[in-house]
Symmetry: C2
Subunit: 352 residues, 2 copies
C-alpha cells in the first residue's frame, strides 16, 4: 500500500527524452511513431498513470460533475444519480455526491462552494428555492443544471416533468373508469412538488367537461407512508357534506398512495372495489405492493439522463441558451384502479 507513484518526469528520464515530448507522446498529438513507442514502454515499466491534480490545475478542468440533492438515500434521487453516472462516466466524467439538506440556504451554500473549482459543473435538485439560491446559481463559475421546475422557472437550465399534467392524467383516468367522488391527498403545499400537484389537481377539476360529483382535499404532513395513513383516514372516514363516500383517491406520490390503501383497509374498504387509488413516481415499491399501484411515472432516471446530456454540452462549451427541457409524465395503470388482476401473468412476463 501507499507505494509512491511515478511522475511524468521520471518517465521522461527513463525514456531519455524531454518532458514535453513525453506529455505529447502520451496524450496530445504531434509525436513520432518511435517516440510514442519509446515513451509508452517507459511509462508501462514504471506503472505510470497521470496525476489528476496536476492535470486539473493546468487545464482548469476537473472532469468531475457534482450531483446535489436533499437526501441521496431517497430512492428517487439514487435513481437519478445512477442515470447521471451512466451517461457521464463514458465521457470520462466522475460524479461527486453532495447533499443539500432541506433548506434553500444549505443548497445555496453548496452552489457557492463551486467557487473552489472542485467540479466542472453541478446538477442540483433543491427541494425549495429562494432568491438567494437563484442568484447563487446565476453567479456560479461553472454550469449548473437544475432538476425540477422551481429553478427552471428562473431561467436556469433545467429538466423537469410536468407533474401537474401528471395529476391531470390520473384524475382523467379515474373519471374515465367511472369514478365520481374524487379525493386528492397532497403533501405539504409549500414544497415545490406539493404546489405543482395542487395546481395540477385544481386545473383538472376545473377543466370544462369534468364529470365528477364531488371533490375533497386532504394534506399529509409529509410525503411518507405514515403521514399518508393519518391523512387518508380523515379523507376516507368523514363523509363531509353528507354525501356518499369517496370512490377514488389521487395521492401525490406512491408513499402517500400506499398509506391511503393501508388506511382504507383499516376502515374496511377494499381497493380498488370500494375506492380506487393512484400514486405518483412509479416506484418499485408501488409495482410490488399488493394491489399494485396505478402511478404516474415522473421518470427520475430519464430526468437524470436528460440533465446529464445537457451538462455534457455545457461543459464542452456548446452553450445553448438556458432553457427548460420537459420530460413527459406517463400514467402506468395497474391493479389499484380496478384493472383486473393479472399479476401472475405480468410477473412471468417480467413486468415486475
Amino acid at each position: 500500500m501507499t507505494s509512491s507513484r511515478a511522475t511524468l518526469i521520471q518517465v521522461a528520464e527513463r525514456a531519455g527524452v524531454s518532458l514535453a515530448s513525453t506529455s505529447r507522446a502520451l496524450h496530445g498529438s504531434g509525436a513520432s511513431e518511435a517516440m510514442v513507442e519509446r515513451v509508452r514502454a517507459a511509462a508501462d515499466e514504471l506503472g505510470y498513470s497521470p496525476d489528476v491534480s496536476g492535470r486539473s490545475l493546468k487545464l482548469g478542468r476537473t472532469f468531475q460533475i457534482a450531483f446535489a440533492v436533499a437526501d441521496i438515500g431517497n430512492p428517487v434521487h439514487a435513481k437519478m444519480m445512477a442515470a447521471l453516472h451512466e451517461v457521464l462516466a463514458p465521457h470520462g466524467y466522475r460524479v461527486v455526491v453532495m447533499t443539500t439538506g432541506d433548506t434553500p440556504e444549505s443548497a445555496t451554500e453548496l452552489v457557492r462552494s463551486l467557487g473552489s473549482g472542485f467540479v466542472d459543473g453541478m446538477v442540483v435538485s433543491p427541494p425549495h428555492t429562494d432568491e438567494e439560491l437563484v442568484r447563487a446559481v446565476r453567479r456560479a463559475p461553472v454550469p449548473v443544471v437544475a432538476i425540477g421546475r422551481s429553478l427552471g422557472a428562473h431561467g436556469v437550465d433545467s429538466v423537469s416533468t410536468d407533474s401537474a399534467a401528471g395529476v391531470g392524467q390520473a384524475v382523467r383516468h379515474l373519471v374515465e373508469t367511472g369514478r365520481r367522488r374524487i379525493g386528492f391527498l397532497n403533501g405539504p403545499p409549500d414544497t415545490s412538488p406539493g404546489a405543482e400537484r395542487k395546481r395540477g389537481f385544481d386545473d383538472a377539476v376545473s377543466a370544462p367537461g369534468f364529470a365528477a360529483e364531488r371533490v375533497d382535499v386532504a394534506l399529509a404532513e409529509d410525503f411518507t407512508v405514515v403521514a399518508g395513513v393519518a391523512a387518508a383516514h380523515r379523507l376516507l372516514a368523514g363523509a363531509p357534506r353528507g354525501g356518499a363516500r369517496l370512490d377514488a383517491v389521487v395521492a401525490a406520490n406512491d408513499l402517500l398512495a400506499i398509506g391511503t390503501i393501508l388506511a382504507a383497509r383499516e376502515l374496511g374498504l377494499s381497493v380498488p372495489e370500494d375506492v380506487a387509488v393512484t400514486g405518483m413516481d412509479d416506484t418499485e415499491m408501488g409495482r410490488i405492493f399488493q394491489p399494485s399501484l396505478t402511478s404516474v411515472s415522473l421518470g427520475s432516471a430519464e430526468l437524470g439522463r436528460a440533465a446529464a446530456r445537457i451538462m455534457l454540452r455545457l461543459v464542452e462549451g456548446k452553450a445553448d441558451e438556458p432553457r427548460e427541457t420537459p420530460v413527459g409524465p406517463r400514467l402506468v395503470v395497474r391493479e389499484s384502479t380496478g384493472v383486473p388482476p393479472m399479476l401472475a401473468g405480468a410477473v412471468r412476463k417480467g413486468a415486475l
Copy 2:
C-alpha cells in the same frame, strides 16, 4: 455564469500583504489579529474561495473518497453510499461514485485507476473477487476498504455482515415457530453472497439438535423477484420424495422472498398459514409488502458507516493493521412467518 474566480495572489495584492501571509491568515496558524482581519476583508470583497486543484497538488491530498460498487442503482448500494456520505462529509471529504460492473476485471481496473490520485481512498464492494483484484488492492497507492467478505478474507481492511449466521437465524426462527419442512431458495451460488448463504444454510441444517423433517433447496438464476417466482414454483409445487409440502421457505434475499410469496399465491397457498417465508436485507419493500416480510437485516447503512469510519482513520494516517470488522446481522420478525397482523398499530407507531 462562468465569471472568473479570484486567486490568492489577487487577495494578497488587494490586502497589500504577501502571498504567504495571506495563505496563513486564511488557513494555517501564525498570523496576527490585524493580518487576519485585513486578509479576510480582502477575500470577502473579491468573493475568494481557495482553489481545490492547486491545494490538492501541493498537499498531495484531494479530500475525496471513492465509493465503487457494481450498480449504484441498487437500493442496498445507494443506502451504503448515503451512509458513507453522512459520515465523511462532516470531516470535509467528498464522495465520488464509481461502478465496477459485474466482473472482477473491471473492479480491478477501477482500483488500478487509483494511481491517478483523484481520491485519497476507496471503499469498494465487488460482487466477485479474483487474485488480480486482491493484488491490485494491495498495491493501491491509497487505502482501500472493502465491504463484504470476499476481499476481507485476503487481508484487506473490510467490514462485512456474517450473512451465513443470518441464514442460521432465519432457519432457527422457523424451527422454533413450529415449521418442520424447510426449503431454501438461494441465488447463484457462484456469487459471493450466494456462496455464503449456502454455507449458512448447510451449517444450520447440520447443526446438532436441528429438528426439521425435510429440507429442499432451489436456485434462482438471479437475485430478483422474477427469478424468485420461477424457482419458488419448483420448490413449492413438487413434493419430491413423496412427502408433504414444505411449510417454510428461507429466501436468500427480500426480492426472492417476495417472488416466493407471489408463487405461493399462484399455487393457492397462503402466507404465513400454509407456508412461512423469510427474506434477507430488510428492505423497505419488504417492510411495505403485504404480508410484511420477516427478514434478516444485514445493515447496509451500518456497513457503510463502519467502512467510512475505518477509512477516516486510514486517510488520517492512523494505520491500524488491516482487519475484518464484523457487523452483526439481526432477524426482524414480521407477518410472513406467522406473527399476528399488527400492521395498523405498527403503522401508527411509525414502524413503517
